[in-house]
Each structure stands twice: as structure tokens, then as C-alpha cells.
Symmetry: C2
Subunit: 469 residues, 2 copies
Amino acid sequence: MMDEFLSTLAAIVGRDYLLVDGAETAPYLNDWRGRYRGAARAVVRPADTAQVAAVLAACHAAAVPVVPQGGNTGLCGGATPLPDGRSVLLSLSRLNRVRALDPDNNTLCVEAGCKLSAVQAAAHEAGRLFPLSLASEGSCEIGGNLSTNAGGVQVLRYGNMRDLVLGLEVVLPDGQVWDGLRGLRKDNTGYDLKHLFVGAEGTLGVITAATLKLFPAPQARATAWVAVPDPAAAVALLAHMRGGCGDRITAFEIVGRPALDLVLQHIEGARDPLPGSAPWAVLVELSDTLPDAALEDMFERELGAAIEKGLVLDAAVAGSLAQAEALWALRENISEAQRLEGVSIKHDIAVPVSRIPAFLSAAGSRLRAVWPDVRIVAFGHIGDGNLHYNLSKAAAEENASFIARTEEANRVVHDLVAELGGSISAEHGLGQLKREEIRRYKSELELLLMRKIKSALDPAGLMNPGKLL
Amino acid sequence: MMDEFLSTLAAIVGRDYLLVDGAETAPYLNDWRGRYRGAARAVVRPADTAQVAAVLAACHAAAVPVVPQGGNTGLCGGATPLPDGRSVLLSLSRLNRVRALDPDNNTLCVEAGCKLSAVQAAAHEAGRLFPLSLASEGSCEIGGNLSTNAGGVQVLRYGNMRDLVLGLEVVLPDGQVWDGLRGLRKDNTGYDLKHLFVGAEGTLGVITAATLKLFPAPQARATAWVAVPDPAAAVALLAHMRGGCGDRITAFEIVGRPALDLVLQHIEGARDPLPGSAPWAVLVELSDTLPDAALEDMFERELGAAIEKGLVLDAAVAGSLAQAEALWALRENISEAQRLEGVSIKHDIAVPVSRIPAFLSAAGSRLRAVWPDVRIVAFGHIGDGNLHYNLSKAAAEENASFIARTEEANRVVHDLVAELGGSISAEHGLGQLKREEIRRYKSELELLLMRKIKSALDPAGLMNPGKLL
């Protein structure tokens, strides 16, 4: 049985695309990690921008909140409705068309429901690169990537999602459609509105399409696993490599020994590329748009010099694509290995690259002072100053008592991050998870400015309530 | 004699830094091109952010508008007060300190009054590159570059000012100071506020400092002057060069024959690198962060192949730094040559790169249909889709009757730009010059969104009235 409001929505999207049955709606109403369980009036699955606009207009008229959702791969509950069940869950997944590709202008216009892997494939077919690359790229959708300003492993060279978008089409909270899809690299005709919606986590409007930048496709890649004595050496190695390789550095990921050990322990086929006990390793990737770029030679030369400088203990350069993939698999499987190990307390922090060593040193000592047997599993995008700084419990500890110390751990880690001029959410956004926590670390003035923007664009407060702000 | 309000300002900045005398204030109250003549209550020259904040607070309390100004090199009157004389002209030029440089984090924190050339020099001294490069770099200030989202000749490789900034310090209209100077490449903790102020042309607040990105310094450069048969060949050449040179392409500027002829005629020492009558030329620059990059060889190979494909008629690769500078001088002197030739009607437009040939063809035929002897001087950043499309009068025509056709010319050129999905102000902003014109080409909804932002951040409407909106 449907009330009048739901009948209105069914008339817009078609009865088949309005879900109310619990078994059908469950995948949309719970987050990927199983941490947030939400409820909604219904799940609607519009086919195109016009239907999205009509749905938002109807919700606006009825004062019903709207929760936009893409691939539902987010890590902060930003796409899960609150348990009050008042909202409509708006799935963008059916808006999955590639609208246009312009090779000479190096732009690709896609709808928000396109999977990131599909966007990458469309670029590849045209001989170009769309460089956003995340673990979840087979499931996440570009609208979600935009709404969370996704990062990933190639930010070092290509930037975040924010740096990869030229224009947006957005349905505003009242159902009006803003067409800002211009694919221009130079356009100084007023305020840059798209940057409000990028990273807004669905709280200002619904992104329905985007014009993305394309890049020349790399023709050569080389990958190396490099053992370093400490994080300061890793930071110095990055500067050293920049001097010798310049723009060719595409990825620079640090892996702490505890993180590597978890992978070696839990992931079948995983092998340590440099058997030994080096406390830290760095996964480095170079790429070049020229095929004859001699990147392996460049590695030999630069890493050899780094060894002589004492920055590097040992290094292994991948000699084949299979070897390179095996190295990347070590990095990519850390999250899974940590999951198999048991519960963990996760942090996604950023500090200036120059302060990474100070962060790791101080975080370790401050945590151990109050928690002597905590296991620190640190890894991540050190080249961007972004670490995934996760805590695993000691084997004997109980899950509940471990998780109960989450706030205590956050206080230590996040206070330190703030002291060092960093961010408590480098990549994953605020969602539900960190919207309270951020208030400790943002100035009142900055929070006020955000609320003013929210009031200006969503005066009725219907967009994704309980998230971000 | 000073009224109470001006006495308040004098107490903040010091009497010496409050200017009221006409001879002293004139350089601030008139724009660089002599097109706009303004008037103000006073010109104030604060020393630091605290003084800027106090000045804005005082102006806010007295409901006096404020016009921020950097190097006063803008081209749209955006930094010139209106003739009503109600505003205070706020010069940022004394805020010229380099606050911090972090080589490992590749960031540089500077105050808004630093000249762009000083910012470039600070980066250079640290072995890095700050890539923003404009003709006015010896005079313009980084605060103005930020407020206008300046572009320049290296946008093709490094992006606009917007792509080069990580954080801002902004004094809000009521005098509160927002410290958003975090130098992080990854920070997803709410709305990205800095992008509101970048390109806002001083209408939302006063930028007082910025954290800028630094890049590896190029170690090798090569420059070539390339004769092409038509704009379509130039666009195809860019795609060809991208395939063969990838990221190394740093600049790609088109110069029409009439533009080149003006330089050869008016600028002493200027010589045609490829004597002949090719209708178009492209100035191409490659650079690499490795010193042994063999860029001249790359040019020979790629341009040779382009000649065989029929894209290129002839090419000259600079064999020395002096030769390269001579080639760049041809491009950089076009504006001066056009000024010496006489009055002109200027357009700063962008279309998708793929539509540049269609724009040039249609603009030429539509203009000549109503103005048979108009002289079209087209040149610019074709790699970004941005052309300076200027009209010079026929020798015999009178200045006044020529200039009187400005609106007619705008209508033809701007309507065409809109048809092609472009922008009527690619680089220079709206200021006073284009704030009315833009209303023909932006949707009502987009203008409404901009007014909502303005109302939210500057409810009293005191920031730079009569500009942009």
C-alpha cells in the first residue's frame, strides 16, 4: 500500500523503480561496512536527470529529505539514511550513460551513475587516461567520487577528483537543474559554483552529470618496492626521486612492517619482495607518456644513488607486469588483511608531507604511553601526506573493550594531527562518522561559513540530513 | 581635514598610510589602461592582516564599501572604485612577506601583496617552480592573481591559479579573519571554501595570504615556431604533439598573420622566424624536469612527422636561449604592437579546443558580413581553447566611429561563443567591463546561485560594489 506521496514518486520513476519492500531496500539502506543501518520512506531509482529533478521537486514540495547514493561504497555512512526513516533514498545508478567524448578537447561527459571503472574504460578506448584510481573502482560511481572528492593512489601526479572535473550538472534541492557542464579550462565569468558541490557529500544538491578531464595515456610504467630505515628516509626519498624523475612519479605509498606482515599472514600467495626485517617499505611507481622512457634504468640510477645516501636499505624493481601487479597487490590487500585479522580502529589523516615523520613518531609514543600493547598498522599515500593510521588489538584483547577505546584513540591521534596543521579526514569525508568529531578541529568561523553556504543553497535543510554538518 | 571615519582608519594604518590627496590617490583610482576613472573616500595601505581586518571592521560598522586592490594591472576595471566616491580603496601591496617555504611539502605561503615575480623568485631560490606566468608578472600581485583566477601561458601544463593554491587566509566583510591556510593536498572535512574566494574579484572578502603549490623546476626547455596552414591544423598539431611528447608540452600559442605583422611593423628588432606568408603560426614550448631530455631532438622528430602529415608547413626550432627569447618576444609583444597601431576592440574568449576552428571561421565570416574592412587580430592560448580575438580598425576609419561599433562586435563574437559552449571571459574576469554582458549568456539560475552566495557571505553588500555581479 502506498500513500499519496509515494504514488507521486512511482508516477515519476515508474512503479518498478520505487522500492519499499524490506528485502529489496536493504542493500541501499545499510552501508558497505555494516556499520550504519538506515531506514527510508522508499528507495527510488530514476532513469535520467529529468526524473531526478521531478523527484527532488516532489520531495521538496512535501518537505521530505533526500539521501543521494551512488555505489554505496563510502566509508563514513554519508550515503546511508538516518534510522528515523523520514528520507527518500535516491539512487543514481541508472544514470549510467557516457554522454560525450571530445578527444581534441580532452573531455569526457558522463552521468553520475557511471561506475568509475566504466569511466576509465571509456577514456582508455579513446586512447586517453582518466586517472582517478581507487580500490572500489569496480563498484563506486563517479557521482559519489565527485561528492566525496575521492583521492586514491594517483593523486600525487594527477590530483584529486576536484582537479579532474571541469563542469557539473546538478539538480538543486527544489528540483531546478543547474547546467554547469561547460568543458572549458578557462572561464572567469563569476563564482566557481562546481567546487561547492564537489566534496559536499550530497548536502547541497544532487550531481547528475559531469565533464571530466582526460589525460595522455601512459605508455610506460615501472614499479619498485623499496625498503627504507624510517619515515624520514621515505620523505627524503620522495624529494630525491622528484629531483631525478620529476613528473614521472605517479605513486608513492608507504607500508609499515606490521601492515606488510598482516598481508603476508592472511593473503594467499603474498610474498615479501625483500625478505628481511626492514621496518618500512615504499611502493614507487613511475610512468611516462612516451613508450621508450627507460623507466627501469631511471629506477636503477635513482635508487642506487639513494642507497649510497643512506635513504634506502634495499630495493626490488619489477621486471614484468606480473611482478608489478604482485607488488601492488601487497599494498592493495592491506585493508582486507586487517579485516581478516579482526576489528580495528581506523584513522584517515593528512599532515604536510614534511611532518609525516613527526606524526608517526609522536603518535606512536603518545598511544603507547596509554596503551602499551596496541598494534599500529600504518600505511598509505605518504606522497600526499595522507596516512591510513589504523590500530589493531593485541591478540588476547576482547573486541568490545578494544572498540570502547575508540574515542580515546581518536583524541590522541586527531589532537596530534591538528597540532601539526593536518586534517582528520584526508580522503573519506565526514558523512555521519566524523561530523561531530570535526567540530573539535575546525574553527567556529569556518563552521559558520559552511552553515551559511548550506542555508543559502538548501534553506529547507532537506539534502542528506545528519551528514557533514 | 578628516572626518571621524577617516580618523579611525588613520589610527589603524598610521596617518602616512591613509591617502586623501588627489595626486597621491590617482594611481590607485584609475585603471592601468586608462579606461576607468574612479573616486574614493580614501586609499588605505595596511601593513598586515590584522590591520586589514581592523579596516574592514571599521568600514563594516560605518557601512562604507571596500574595493580591494593589488598591483592594479587588471583589464576589466575590477580594482577601480566606482565614480560615486563612496568606497575606501584598500591596497594590499604592503602585505608582501613570504611567510614560509616547505620544500618537502612543496608549498609556499605568501602574503597577498607579493608581486608574482617575487613569488616566482622565492620558488626558484628553493629549487622549485611556481608556474603562473603572465605578461604583467613584474607588477601584478598574487592576491590579484587569486581574485581573478589568473591564467597565462603555462595553463596547458600546470593549470590556472585555482589549480595552484592549497589554502587561503581571507578577511571577511565584517573583519573576521578566516584562517584556511592549511597546506594539504588531501582534506575532505567539509565544503571547500577557498574556491569561493578564488576568482571572486574581491566581492566576497579580502584575500590576505595564500599557501601555494610548488613544482619540480624544469631543467630543460625547447621552443619552436611552427607555420601551419589553418587553425584546424593547429588543433591537430596539438593532438599530434601530445601523442609524441605527452606531459612535456608546456605552452602552445597561436599567432595569426595579422598579429605577427603588427609586431614586425611596430616592434624594433622583431624578425619573422619563417619568412613567407603562412597565415598562422604556433609557438610551442616543451620542458622537462630532467636535464638530459633531448627536447630539440623530440621537436625534430615530431615536427618532421607533422610536416609529412600536412599539419605543418615549416618550423624553426630555437637553437639557443636568445633565439627562444626572441620567439617568445614575438608572442608577448602583440598587445603592445596592437596598442601602437591604434584603438582596438578586444575579446578574451574560450571555446572547447575542438571548436576553435569553427569559431575562427564563423566569427570571421559573420563579422565581415557586416563590417567588410575590419581587421581581425587573433592570437592566444589555443591549447586551452582561449583566444584573444581583437579587432583593429581599417587605416582610414575614425576612432570614434570604430569604437562605437563595440557592442555590435560583441554581439557577433559573444553570441557565437555561446553557441559553441564557450566563455566570454576566459582569463580577465568580469569586473566592471563585462558584468552586464554576462547576463546575456549565463542562465538566470546560475546568476541566482551567485547572488545567493553573495548574500550569504556579504549580506551588507559592501565588498567591491558594481563588480562581477
